[in-house]
Subunit: 341 residues, 4 copies
Amino acid sequence: MLYFVNDYSEGAHEKVLRHLIDTNMEQLSGYGTDHYCETAKEKIKKACGCEDAEVYLLTGGTQTNQIVIDTMLAPYEGVVAAHTGHVSTHEAGAIEFTGHKVLELPEKNGKICASDLKELAETFYGDDNHEHMVFPGMVYISHPTEYGTLYSKKELEELSSVCRKYKLPLFLDGARLIYGLVSKETDVTLQDLAELCDVFYIGGTKAGTLCGEAVVFTGNCMPKHFLTRVKQHGALLAKGRLLGVQFDALFTDDLYLEIGKNAIETAAVLKEGLKKKEYQFFIDSPTNQQFVVLENSRMEELKKDVQFGFWEKADDSHTVVRFATSWATRMEDVQKLLSLL
Amino acid sequence: MLYFVNDYSEGAHEKVLRHLIDTNMEQLSGYGTDHYCETAKEKIKKACGCEDAEVYLLTGGTQTNQIVIDTMLAPYEGVVAAHTGHVSTHEAGAIEFTGHKVLELPEKNGKICASDLKELAETFYGDDNHEHMVFPGMVYISHPTEYGTLYSKKELEELSSVCRKYKLPLFLDGARLIYGLVSKETDVTLQDLAELCDVFYIGGTKAGTLCGEAVVFTGNCMPKHFLTRVKQHGALLAKGRLLGVQFDALFTDDLYLEIGKNAIETAAVLKEGLKKKEYQFFIDSPTNQQFVVLENSRMEELKKDVQFGFWEKADDSHTVVRFATSWATRMEDVQKLLSLL
Amino acid sequence: MLYFVNDYSEGAHEKVLRHLIDTNMEQLSGYGTDHYCETAKEKIKKACGCEDAEVYLLTGGTQTNQIVIDTMLAPYEGVVAAHTGHVSTHEAGAIEFTGHKVLELPEKNGKICASDLKELAETFYGDDNHEHMVFPGMVYISHPTEYGTLYSKKELEELSSVCRKYKLPLFLDGARLIYGLVSKETDVTLQDLAELCDVFYIGGTKAGTLCGEAVVFTGNCMPKHFLTRVKQHGALLAKGRLLGVQFDALFTDDLYLEIGKNAIETAAVLKEGLKKKEYQFFIDSPTNQQFVVLENSRMEELKKDVQFGFWEKADDSHTVVRFATSWATRMEDVQKLLSLL
Amino acid sequence: MLYFVNDYSEGAHEKVLRHLIDTNMEQLSGYGTDHYCETAKEKIKKACGCEDAEVYLLTGGTQTNQIVIDTMLAPYEGVVAAHTGHVSTHEAGAIEFTGHKVLELPEKNGKICASDLKELAETFYGDDNHEHMVFPGMVYISHPTEYGTLYSKKELEELSSVCRKYKLPLFLDGARLIYGLVSKETDVTLQDLAELCDVFYIGGTKAGTLCGEAVVFTGNCMPKHFLTRVKQHGALLAKGRLLGVQFDALFTDDLYLEIGKNAIETAAVLKEGLKKKEYQFFIDSPTNQQFVVLENSRMEELKKDVQFGFWEKADDSHTVVRFATSWATRMEDVQKLLSLL
């Protein structure tokens, strides 16, 4: 069986695992106060080119979205997001669970645009009754998006500019960030994100760690008593080392770039092969997720040999499916997949 | 100055006020346990033709929406509503405050339709990942809607049928219900609502009381320990009599019908007059709210003599405004308004 | 049947009711923006001797406690209160419902003291692990307390001093405040409260209005976008006039003092009579609530003629009961009650 | 430096780590649906002697307490716990964050007793006003307690009996359960817990895993749509294998017993040594945590060579400290510690 079902099918990248093994019997203080957490944070800040950033390590993606959004919003505020945003659709209401509305914007290829955001803000503040409504309080984007697409630097600059005008912190969900950063079709760097976003995170779970997301607060915007609030959300790990050691490995000798590259290279070969075979793409993705429209009977047959993701119904006889590559994908498996298609 | 800005500009209908005066010095037990509350509930049940209903009196509309929705939903469920629904837009996130998502459906004339609801339910349960999403848990509609429009009996039957198929309680926001019930263009009765809805409320605030909304739970669906939950939401009145006495008056000698009729008759004359003057209607409303598109300079001039509601921008030079009538609107004021238009 | 069961058995004081009647057909703007609300707030600020205070009118006591505490606390903070405090015991968890812990202190006669508060704060900040605990964020006291007792000015000064040292806003629940202010055994004035508390409220419901509590924020501490947060809690009344008109009456010609005096005078006669008859007092209350220990069979007999409050079991054969007087209590009824005892 | 500061200073037990290494490159499905999770659950059910239990793997202790309590309580209910219980004091208000009150009982050696629980329930239901109060909805105990003490089987039976009478699920926090199960002074087995508790968890974090707590729902009481609620709380791990593999190792060849034994044996030697040196024990603990009263200057000196836990101030010149042993504690380090004392 070939696995292209997601980018978190294996455990940890061998170098991450190695670091866990090597440090295992060290006696370290708890709750993220150990020196591996410290070192990891320093390396991340350096990679971001943002020495005055504050970094916090959390366990999972939905948890991170929930905690960042809940702690950065005032209670009367909601978060603006694409209606296809992960926080809007696939997190079981984790945002609303903390009392905040997700204010949805239309999307194009999974992305929101500055003009729609501007209109939302203008309409809100132009409405005499806006005190009876949920205030827009921050903006959530994902990069790569849920559809594997990427914001250009210009698009981010425009969004950031509207955000700053309306004092809306810009929050970037980077669960798959590394696959965006190393894409051949991006002009966005980690340093750009540190400049344009108020907070973003670098996903570990989908990029070679067993778990873990590194939240980067730029410009002194980390919420007060953040550790207490993390604990209040039930998310404080006793053995914070688990996160510290893994991110320390990920940001040593550019391992995170190495991880990203394999995913992108295998995805590129897959994409090229699919094009040659004239498959219809649901969307043009420059990252590690490829969305293709399959005829239903073809899809059923493929299931016998390959695990892949069901995305959505295209029409009565066709389905959109997703093939995902990762740090662990072997080129020979891509070739095998192509030979089956 | 003429007031057409809303249907809650005056205090209480004189008969409601009279009943408050007459009962003022009676010594009554607290928290809604007094005999006026009891009598009011009996009269409401009778008017609904639903003896086994349970009635609960609350203070305001947003409060009622919040409490009914929060107490009837399971924690993992959200409420389905039109994206123009009051709970979706104009309640400052009161639903999300209690942890629940509002799952928005497209609207037509402020209404949702059975086929859209069916599609939402089918798509949800057809999605293999639906356990990662907010479950649809109940359906919210308003009648009249936020645009003054009304559901037909057929439309309600269809909605109710889909609701029952998917075990989604149907909740009708009747803040302005009386103005729907007495409209000349409706075929929906209070008894129909008791049959087709699982819970609905009969608004007092916008229909001649100082405050108060009467929630009707049909078919034994009142949440367990409802009084405790009302108190937990901060909504239990010590002097529950304030609500009981007012609804007792409203449901004595069909006062609520009398109140409704005045609003509808004055609105009908206004609508006819506006048509004759060839004003453009934003929407065709058969109830006490009339939405008209005014040229902006015209609107500014009118403001000198009339209070009316700003609804939304139509285009750069036109605005949608609302004129509302009520139990208290005098026909001579309608004539004065028409003479100014 | 004689009623001494509580201080909210009747409707409104006749002057309050009269003002509602007189203003009933005035057309006023909604949501507390009308001129009666404005005037009431001005009169209250004047009575408090605190022109820069901000006043907000809410509907009920639990609602007020919930909203004030939730909006003034940071999300990681709890409210410190006596373990007999109303918010600790009799509000169905309305504080916890909004995510905050009630941090309980021991009480003496229903009151907390400065030294216990200081110790709580010192222990908290002295604990290296306090970031894993709920931060004390404000202090709640009731005056009169749930046992009818009163803080002295000195006690309030001491509490206020500790509060300011630890930056804990002091919040006084004045649901029955008027009965404290006019007690013959108090040295605390409304002006003192405005100086010593950061926020307090003047109860209407238990002091002659149909509903309503007037929250006074001193020194610029009213939470941002308070109206939005009130609405989010489901507590914003469309007809805000209902509260404005009533408090306007209450603070006209010192009506609130008049209301207080009747309750205190009748309670004093009752207390004196009970003493003469050598009844055992559960606690020495200088306000309108008198707590007496009755032999159980005696209590049962009394129930035939009098309604009074069950407080708690004293021992197997005795019960603590409460007799409450109010603005509406007639001296002749006190005499009748005494003749029955 | 010697480490006795807690039982989570090292990484994972070597056999747990080994299993992570061995399974690392297996491609597994996400969110806890993989076969290691399945096997782990089966082994746990078998160890509990309770085939019809349902087991769910979560990441951390506070998270587990929060999710179990929030999902098993009705919204109007609170959880009964010792006032020294972890949920009462050291979880940053994680329970209240989900809207529930912790109803505190007095403790003796960290334990609550059946008679106090019975009295709480009787007083609650005996109070005519109990609908205005938080309903007791479940009972939380920790075993070992926060003071290292253990319930006897008889004590648990009595608690369980009161719980069942009042329909209060009994929930046992077993973050350190293994150290209780293998204590020489216990008569409580895992099978007893499965019979007497409605839900309990077997801690991994403090017993040799990198993270993870295994919740055991006995008798069909796992809340509906539990995965969705876990996700809503932000606690669903994409790589659920991380938990499955570790618990699979822990419950293979009785590794968890082996882990427990080392902690208990080293603690016993330490306790014996401390007794011989006539140190004053704060409490008599039969598990891996030993609480001793140290003279302050003595304590300061010891800090140079040993890390241990500050517990609380005993008096002005003495402090209660905690020495904790674990699966990883070496007997030679205990000897070194004793030589320093």
